[in-house]
Symmetry: C2
Subunit: 373 residues, 2 copies
């Protein structure tokens, strides 16, 4: 194994101890709330992380692309929720993934589309399982729980050839906009209330609604109760990032992900280092503004992961260059640092693997990631 001093930079590091602590914390939350944890793998996109994340759960996972669905199906995962709206043209690919031995659950929120999907499902080897997507306040996708189309779609899918109505789901993405934990609690209760209302409405007509699914890392952490909910689907909690830290979802010491970089330039007159990680290696996610109202592209820490004086941040990026002002001590060219990411999902997406490190910063493993669509 290489060490943090000779691994080619930029490289993606994953702190195994912090990952495990994050997984344990969320598993305990699910247990306390009495719901199953169906971790969303859109952030970690790794079989090794997924196996650790489902320990003690029923084994179901959530994915954000059909490429992820195939990757996890090939690795033996059999219960996969594909959390982006399905369209008829993707159903053949769904059938191909199911032929690998997995059972996918698909989501939709539109009556005309449900008709077209059901018509396509009848032409393919099934069955195809569906959750109706409910809007619990994010106003991105989903039907309001009292929209007449919820029951129309439920009835249509329940009666359609090769189709199974499995339940309802929602994603309270607007929890990311909350300024306080009290506000997250309000969103979490709205998230719960919306899907439970939709489920009760469906069951009231005599149709089945086994799964009642919610999910976002903030609401999973701060929901006061999840009565009526059967599962939750948080994802970014596994790795954490500066944005999650800014909204109170994790401490700085919980961040399991970082990018190993090298200093490739120094302007002493400006006190600014140049690092070999830019917009591709760190992502262009601007995250939350800092105390001074400025955006940045990650925070520099030392090789051991410890904060540097003044908490310097990457203030500007080009494709393979990152501008890091505010270093108190002049670095050597070639000196290595680690950058804590604004947004774990976006940063990790550029890499093919994690270099897994232990609490001493020793590289102990390499875990592959999947990507694409």
């Amino acid at each position: 194994m290489p060490t943090l001093s000779d691994l080619r930079t930029p490289a993606l590091l994953l702190d195994k101890g912090r990952l495990q602590a994050n997984l344990d914390r969320m598993a305990a939350r699910a247990n306390a709330l009495g719901v199953n944890l169906r971790p969303h793998m859109k952030t970690a996109k790794s079989i090794d992380v997924a196996r650790a994340a489902i320990k003690g759960q029923t084994g179901g996972i959530t994915v954000s692309t059909l490429a992820e669905a195939e990757y996890f199906a090939r690795a033996g995962f059999t219960d996969i929720l594909y959390g982006v709206g399905i369209t008829p043209d993707k159903l053949a690919d769904v059938a191909a993934v199911q032929a690998l031995g997995a059972e996918l659950s698909l989501i939709l929120d539109n009556l005309d589309n449900a008709r077209a999907v059901a018509a396509r499902a009848a032409q393919l080897p099934g069955p195809f399982g569906f959750l109706i997507e409910i809007d619990s306040g994010q106003h991105r996708t989903g039907l309001l729980p009292d929209d007449d189309h919820v029951l129309e779609i439920a009835g249509l899918l329940h009666g359609a050839e090769n189709c199974q109505l499995r339940g309802v789901m929602t994603h309270a993405g607007h929890s990311y906009d909350c300024a306080s934990i009290e506000a997250v609690k309000v969103v979490a209760e709205a998230e719960r209330g919306a899907v439970v209302a939709a489920a009760e409405s469906i069951r009231g007509t005599g149709l089945p609604c086994a799964i009642v699914s919610v999910g976002s890392t903030p609401t999973a952490l701060y929901a006061e109760h999840l009565h009526g909910v059967t599962e939750m689907r948080p994802g970014v909690y596994m790795l954490g990032d500066l944005f999650q830290h800014s909204i109170g979802s994790c401490g700085l010491d919980d961040l399991a992900l970082s990018v190993l970089v090298s200093v490739i330039g120094w302007r002493g007159d400006e006190g600014r280092a140049m690092i070999d990680a830019g917009s591709l290696a760190l992502s262009q996610d601007r995250g939350a503004p800092d105390e001074s109202g400025q955006h940045a592209f990650g925070m520099a820490v030392d090789l051991a992961g410890k904060a540097l004086p003044g908490q310097p941040r990457v203030r500007q990026t080009n494709q393979e260059h990152g501008f890091l002002p505010g270093l108190v001590e002049a670095p050597q060219i070639g000196q290595r640092l680690r950058i804590l990411p604004n947004h774990a999902c976006a940063t990790a997406a550029a890499y093919d693997c994690y270099h897994v490190i232990d609490e001493n910063g020793e590289i102990i493993d390499t875990w592959q990631r999947t990507k694409g669509w």
Copy 2:
């Protein structure tokens, strides 16, 4: 071959005719300016594109990562400029790429680093060739042409074991900030003047300085002359994007790159479609603000690449969702569109391949891309 109607979305499309026209235009520019074209492959990252881009030139290319250097060396490219500052720890990897049969040119701008790099070079199979990086006004990296360290580094590298001084280079990245073509011309002349001055200063001491290299797409297009320059290294001109269009580097009809997407949701009350391409498939590059001062994440066109009424733009993204308001006609769920990217380098980076299309929108080939570091 699949068609644009059945290719799984999101997918990256490359219009071969537009690509060729863009390549021809820049080759004619290089010819008219009397310099060699050393195309920067950081945007296209494709052997097929590179082969077309070097037609009629000496065959040299520019790359932004060692992963690119290795990819192109394995494909038989022998003259490769690695355009990000080198550090001693990367020299063994450079030697490994050179062992594949390529000759790399490396860049640096710091005297202490030059000493450390030269010391490392002496321990490895060489030779290693170097260009001194000059700051022509971007103030990102590079030495000012009259900085004493230019000559000190030149002398050090010329006399060092296993090292060759090949010349000087600069990148006028600040041409991207220009509000007019007249302003680009001023930057282009400053870019030229800075490297030529550094080269003359080096030659004045009796040292060699064979290569005098400039590069950015805007300055390559609008420089009035490049006297004293030997080569230019533009890259994004091959594909074009909305940002290059906004600064006058290409027309909308020159954009060779687009992302094929599907509509996965529709909110009639808001006139807003949801597409299956979000921050990973389009990138989070905010590009230039539009006429109304708003940022967006790409412009929607129809399957044939023609503008839609009102030129609707993707206004918000989540990881796999793009919010597309402003469609004049209600789309079907599953309907396909194409999204013109803000920034070709950033958008293309998420994909493993291009689906190459002809002028009729028929998919005629698949070209692989490289990625990572």
